[in-house]
Amino acid sequence: MKFVRLFLLEFFRLLQSPFTWLTALATALSPLAGLLFYQPAQAGTMATQFLANPALAGGVCGGIFFALLTLEELDRASRSRVEVLADAAVPPRHLALLRLLALIAAAALCFGVTAALWFPASRRLIGSVFDTGDYVLAYGLFMGLALPLSILAASSAYQFTRRTDLSLALVAAFSGLSLTVWAGDWQLCWLNPSVWALSDDFSNLRIFRSVAYIRLTWLGALEGVWVISWLFVRQWGKGPLASFLCGIRRPLGPLLALCLLAGSVSAWAAQPLVDHSNPDLTVMTFDALSMLEGVTCSRRSAQVFPDTHAGTVSGKAVYQLQNRSGSPQTAALAVNPGYSISSVLANGTPVPFSPGDYEEYNEAMAEVTLPADPQIELEVEYGGFPQESRSMSTMQGRLEISGQYLCLENSALIPRLLNVSPEGEERYPTSVEIILPSHMTVIPFCASEAAVTAVHSDGTSTWSYEYTGSGGILYAGDYLREDIFAGGLSIQFYYGRKHQAVMEAAGAAEAIQAVVDYCTEHYGPLSFGADGSLKLIQSRVSGGGYATNGASLLDEADFTAANLNDQNKGTAPGEVMIHELVHQWWGLANMFAPGDPKDPWSAEGLTCYTTYRIAKELYGEDYAAEHYVNPWKQAVEDYHRNFYVRNPQYLSILPEEERLQITNRLAELRQYCEMPLKIRKAETLVGGEAAMDGILRGLFQRELDWAYPYLTYEEFLDACGLEKEELDFETNCEI
């Protein structure tokens, strides 16, 4: 009771301080910074711009303000020289705990008022796609939890040092690191969580889980540090060490600190959200595995059971294998690193399997011992919480699994056989059954259509579909479908139900028609595998997209009300949408060899070039020059200026981690900027746009050599009648 009374006294005393009210006012206004200038989340969705950024700014600014208030309050007694009196009235450690709780209570009150004040503003700014649940979670996690973290950090610094100036320096450095040099590491951003986007049309549970995890990890760590600093609270006129020695006489404090620190370190190391894939993106050992002699796969089927509440997946995959070698073999399966394999049966009998430690490209490899039987039915049970790729750790949210949206890609859907060839044909058939809430529409990312085969009494339905291939991507969500006919194609355009009004108002379907007509007219109709049909699927905001036979992904950020109504771009949607549509022609997987990622020749070169041409036609030459050609030139000039490009001997002496960071960035630049600029140079050398269109049309419609169906740089040069050197740039990119 005494503790509660003292807490209330301290809390109301805190509320009487003008500095507290100043801090509260500044904190309440701080989301404004997220609307005006502090915008760490870059995606173009309305929720990102008008919810994530204000909440993040509120967290950062509010955190700093409350850290200053904490230092001001903790130093008050010392500054007023009444410390001896205060210590005589209440034991110093009790007082430290009371002050901490009072500050956290004041922060909670301030946060509650701020969140309530900003609710109507956010609702009005975000418009029809506003979601109250997202608002509460975004403000609670991005802003609310930043305040106690800052209070704990500042309070710990003061309790260790007992000096305001040194504590200020510590808090400034700790905050500065989180905001600057640690910003690229999602686990180190204690003040400004690594959030790059919030979805308007679908759920955001995955990114909220990620932020909550990091917030709680840091909360545990800073609480542990605070408890240690609490043991250093000076008492009985003793120095820090003597006070500490007194403090550890009772084991509860040190034990609590140890538990909190150990818990947070364990949570840090065992985080379940991001994998530990090899950061060297040039290494592809899984693809380089040699195929098993005499072992083939004729069919694969899977039953997949996503848990839309927990965000987990469980499933059972069955492979029909033929073993003609007459001896046991070891098959390799790629699974998402977040999954574990619980059992493997071969013809109904358990067989040994071993999960591997090595991860690459968001996959882990498990090895299974196959018996010598000629016909094997291999049954694999798997499940877990899918992990995202380490290389995209600051852009989490892709593998969202909820009652509104689901995305399962390749080995996150079904384990993939790495070293077993298909029986007979090029790829083996796969059938998938998936159980999801009935309001969700299942969309396989391929030419196949999914159909409901059973409706269950618990509000779920079973969907099933078939396709051929060793991978497989599945989207599901609360989608609407619109059918469009363009370029001789039947296009099924799927978009989120929440976006219906915006899509119709912006005429997105007409814009899609224009792009498809352009590519069909210039390069020819899509000929590969889709039987004259194409699915366009609006995905949850993901920073880009991809395409495959008969399906292409469109990022929701290109369809936001703000983007679709951007007068600078005319009435057509954003160019990323065009880019992803163009990949249907210059496909990611269909027409370019998956070779060395450092090779500048890839699907991106021709796709970027075509996107530029369409933008030029839609928005004019000046727009295309400003947004495409000039940035490409600048990027290529930067590339050639780069010290490590000119002096690779220095690159080779750097530690591996630093070397990879540099090489990955340079490789991307060459594919997305240097190659389209070379193609544009080739356009000039071959006689202009019409001549280049003719060449590209010829290449697109060329007769494929199925042994190697990929379009190479040499073929492109031969078609243009140019030598490689003619397209090279040194430092001057002028054409």
Partner: protein, 239 residues
């Protein structure tokens, strides 16, 4: 007077604050070197004058804050109360003030040396490089104006009101976030990232446009004048 300088230096440097601040300072510097300097600034080498200048620009706010934190030893209310005693002593207040100034400069000098030493260690370890003479120009361009303005302005403001030093301390953190005119580009680091690109050559040697040189000279001058005003204007009292 040497004894007073020695005593003040010991008071400023031989304490938890200095070593704590040094630890924070070095940690921050290492992060800047690893993440910002190593990739090279403006396409130049990580050990070019431009990359090194960028590093110094990023460290300048902490150097500034550190120098002013040393100054708070002499401008705080507690120090002002003790000034009643020191003023009553037979020592010349100006000389006593200069002795304190020398102690602050020693502290700031040690921080500067730590900053430079850390870069030397980093370059040696990561890129096996050690031609330090080429980095003298950016160091002289960045550091003296920062130290002069911090110390001169801080000393001057601290004599007026102790809390003004705290505001002065926050200034570099504010201008790091502001879009300053190009002449003040050194103060937020943009000069080292942008100016070499305009020189039209690869790995350009270090040079300063007139406006930037004038701004740095002005900062040095203003710092010097403020410092002079603090001492000779009122016999160095309180400082």
């Amino acid at each position: 007077m040497k004894r007073i300088v020695k005593y003040e230096c010991r008071r400023l440097i031989w304490n938890r604050f200095f070593f704590g601040f040094l630890g924070i300072f070095l940690f921050y510097g290492w992060q800047v070197l690893k993440h910002e300097v190593l990739p090279g600034v403006a396409g130049t080498a990580p050990f070019s004058p431009w990359s090194f200048g960028s590093y110094l620009s990023r460290m300048a706010p902490f150097l500034w804050a550190g120098t002013l934190l040393f100054l708070t030893f002499f401008t705080s209310r507690k120090a002002r109360r003790a000034a009643v005693l020191t003023d009553a002593s037979p020592a010349d207040p100006r000389r006593y003030g200069l002795a304190r100034c020398a102690a602050v400069l020693t502290g700031a000098g040690l921080l500067t040396l730590a900053c430079l030493g850390e870069a030397a260690f980093f370059y040696g370890r990561y890129v096996h490089w050690g031609h330090w003479e080429t980095l003298l120009a950016p160091a002289l361009t960045v550091l003296p104006p920062v130290l002069a303005l911090a110390l001169g302005g801080g000393w001057f403001l601290g004599r007026l009101r102790p809390w003004l030093v705290v505001l002065w301390m926050a200034l570099p953190f504010l201008w790091m976030a502001l879009p300053l005119p190009s002449a003040l580009g050194i103060w937020n680091g943009s000069f080292f990232a942008e100016y070499p690109l305009t020189l039209g050559s690869l790995d350009p040697g270090f040079s300063l446009p007139g406006a930037v040189a004038a701004a740095q000279g002005a900062a040095l001058g203003v710092g010097g004048i403020a410092f002079w005003g603090s001492f000779w204007g009122n016999a160095g009292r309180g400082g």
